[in-house]
């Protein structure tokens, strides 16, 4: 009975209720869109950062990560260890060898990181081969070839086809030096790669470093980066002694922080948006309670308990909240779907931004994440109830005699 009454009361001032509802719908829908786009940015960042260079799970000697010392190497067969049960979304893995040295050309010398990769397997894990701005990627069986960052190429004054000298210290202490021909130039937007990364064929680097058949790490890519933490644990459970699995969170702690801060900012954005909405609901409820002072007095005089009145008013705001979030959810779904399917391309106005070691692409795109829908909807209902509490209390506390006298 109370429910039906509450529902009917909502429509006594149709215009006011619809106005309040529209505010709720818009705020819920916008919040859903906002969170979806934000999640899209995070997703872009995660994908570009992890797939650009680090990968998701890295197998290496336990002390390799801390110092990247040349001498913490593994046999090349580590790249083909059996995949542990439970790791189901692996999309690729590849062996790598790494050295630090000097790259030199006519225009000068630059300190560089030299990464020896398998030209066939590396592209299944990282996306560097898609970032080329000139030339081509390494080819299988090629020696003495290099793909280098665009900033580095500029500093050294070399173009595709140009020759550079690489100097480093080999594993036996000797001076490793050789000529490399630049085959490709990449731009990632990350200055740390563009300015100092040199990608070379693995066998060539093994020879230069006197490390035949040895590698430093096996890099694994999985379909869902957030799954990498569990996958690293699964690898660690079965890996032989002397090899350890690490997830991308160890290499990109800023990104891990960014994911955590996303959850915090989600609450803050919702808080700001819903605070305004709550004031609107509060206003509507107060108005409708004040208007009905005589009516409540009558109800109280005819024997309705104060909690009944309170419940009536709270039910009204609950309905308001439910309708608002249902329509808001629908609107949010549509907006998110649009932003996911079409998105907004900003590349005409802004260039890629490197932030916290990752690249934010110049586009707005949303992703579907159940949490981003559930959270605004539940919060809106809660906000409606909280905003309805004060007016409900006031109505319940009315003195029936005084209320009846009210004109």
């Amino acid at each position: 009975m109370l429910t039906a009454l509450a529902f009917r009361n909502l429509w006594r001032n149709r215009r006011r209720t619809l106005l309040t509802l529209s505010a709720m719908v818009v705020s819920a829908a916008l919040l859903i869109l906002c969170l979806g786009v934000y999640a899209g940015m995070i997703d872009d960042m995660l994908t570009t950062t992890t797939r650009l260079y680090h990968g998701h799970v890295v197998l290496a000697a336990p002390d390799y990560h801390a110092h990247r010392t040349l001498h913490a190497h593994l046999p090349e067969s580590a790249a083909d260890l059996p995949t542990p049960a439970g790791v189901t979304d692996m999309v690729g893995r590849t062996p790598r060898l790494r050295a630090f040295g000097l790259l030199s050309a006519a225009a000068g010398s630059q300190p560089v990181e030299i990464l020896g990769v398998d030209p066939v397997r590396e592209p299944t894990v990282t996306t560097l081969h898609r970032q080329l701005v000139a030339g081509r990627y390494l080819q299988a069986g090629e020696a003495g070839a290099a793909v280098i960052g665009s900033t580095l190429a500029k500093k050294l004054g070399v173009a595709v086809g140009g020759e550079v000298v690489v100097v480093t210290q080999a594993a036996d202490g000797s001076i490793g030096n050789d000529l490399l021909t630049v085959r490709g130039i990449f731009t990632t937007g990350d200055s740390r790669h563009d300015g100092r990364l040199v990608v070379t064929p693995l066998p060539w680097l093994q020879q230069l470093l006197v490390l035949d058949g040895r590698i430093h790490e096996v890099v694994i890519a999985v379909a869902n980066p957030l799954q990498a933490f569990a996958d690293a644990d699964r690898f660690n459970a079965v890996l032989p002694a002397g090899i350890e699995a690490r997830d991308w969170g160890d290499f990109l702690p800023e990104m891990r922080e960014a994911i955590v801060s996303f959850d915090v900012s989600r609450v803050i954005i919702a808080g700001i948006l819903y605070f305004a909405t709550a004031l609107g609901i509060l206003n509507t409820c107060f108005m409708s309670v004040m208007e009905r002072t005589r009516e409540f007095g009558l109800l109280l005089a005819s024997g309705m308990r104060p909690w009944g009145i309170r419940r009536l008013v709270l039910l009204e705001t609950l309905f308001l909240g439910l309708i608002g979030s249902a329509v808001g959810l629908l609107g949010g779904l549509l907006l998110t779907w649009y932003m996911q399917a079409v998105g907004i391309d900003l590349s005409g106005t802004i260039t890629p931004i490197t932030y916290a070691g990752s690249t934010i692409l110049p586009r707005l795109r949303a992703v579907f994440d159940p949490g981003n829908f559930l959270f605004p909807v539940v919060m809106l209902v809660v906000v409606a109830l909280v905003a309805g509490f004060l007016p409900a209390n006031r109505a319940a506390r009315l003195d029936p005699v005084a209320a009846l006298r009210e004109e």
Binding site: L70, L102, S104, S109, A171
Partner: protein
């Protein structure tokens, strides 16, 4: 004064004059004048040496045979004779610049400023050590810590504005003969992190010099670089023209 300073002095055979400078500077009231005087003593001092450098690290050990020439404090050329794989690799130091010649690729490469702290020829001597040698008295102030009948202990503290890597350097110098015995290098936390020891003091011509130098990085247990002079001669005929990039490539 950097450890490299001494290392390169020893390499180039000008160590003796350097060692003489320090004790005098320590008790001299007019330090600057003394240093200028010593700086001028370097001019014209040339040397030729055949050295063996043994480098031991946690992961490898190797021995290099080298031939070195020096002129004053600003010119220095060293070429690897052995092992065969690296024969002809050469380093030229000219004022504050260091160049390396790599015969395998037939290229001469100038060591960029960012790599000056890097190891020289895989040893525990850095490129910086080779260069900073010329600017010791510009970068440090000297103080006599202790004097006994047979040695001096001298502390060197960097000047506030000096761009140096050490927080403190302590020299132990023998009075008779007047040669350095040991040099300790401290970091900014006053932690001793590198030690340079001199042995095998011999007479070379009219000078007395230690022919063996041992560099021990205290933060890397078991690692060491030992430089031994098999042949050393001073005041040979060399001019600045010898220390050019073409000479670097000569086999």
């Amino acid at each position: 004064m950097s450890y490299l300073t001494l290392a390169s002095r020893l390499l180039t055979g000008t160590l003796l004059t350097g060692a003489l400078l320090l004790p005098r500077a320590a008790w001299s009231l007019d330090l600057a004048a003394l240093i200028r005087e010593v700086e001028q003593q370097y001019h014209g001092t040339s040397s030729h040496a055949l050295t063996t450098m043994q480098v031991r690290t946690a992961n490898w050990e190797r021995t290099l045979e080298m031939e070195a020439w020096s002129l004053g404090r600003d010119y220095f050329l060293v070429r690897i004779l052995e092992p065969a794989k690296e024969r002809g690799v050469a380093t030229l130091k000219r004022d504050r610049e260091v160049w390396n010649y790599l015969p395998k690729v037939d290229r001469t490469i100038k060591v960029p400023p960012s790599m000056m702290g890097g190891s020289w020829m895989g040893s525990h001597i850095t490129n910086d050590d080779l260069v900073k040698a010329s600017h010791v008295e510009e970068d440090y102030t000297f103080r006599l810590l202790e004097e006994t009948a047979d040695h001096w202990l001298i502390e060197c503290l960097p000047k506030p504005e000096a761009a140096v890597v050490w927080g403190k350097i302590v020299y132990r110098l023998s009075k008779q003969p007047r040669v350095p015995e040991q040099v300790d290098y401290y970091d900014e936390e006053q932690q001793r992190i590198r030690e340079l020891r001199f042995d095998d003091v011999r007479r070379v011509g009219d000078r007395t010099v230690p022919l063996k130098l041992t560099v021990t990085p205290l933060d890397k247990p078991g690692e060491q670089t030992i430089l031994h002079y098999r042949e050393l001669s001073f005041d040979i005929r060399l001019d600045q023209g010898y220390f050019n990039l073409r000479a670097l490539q000569k086999h």
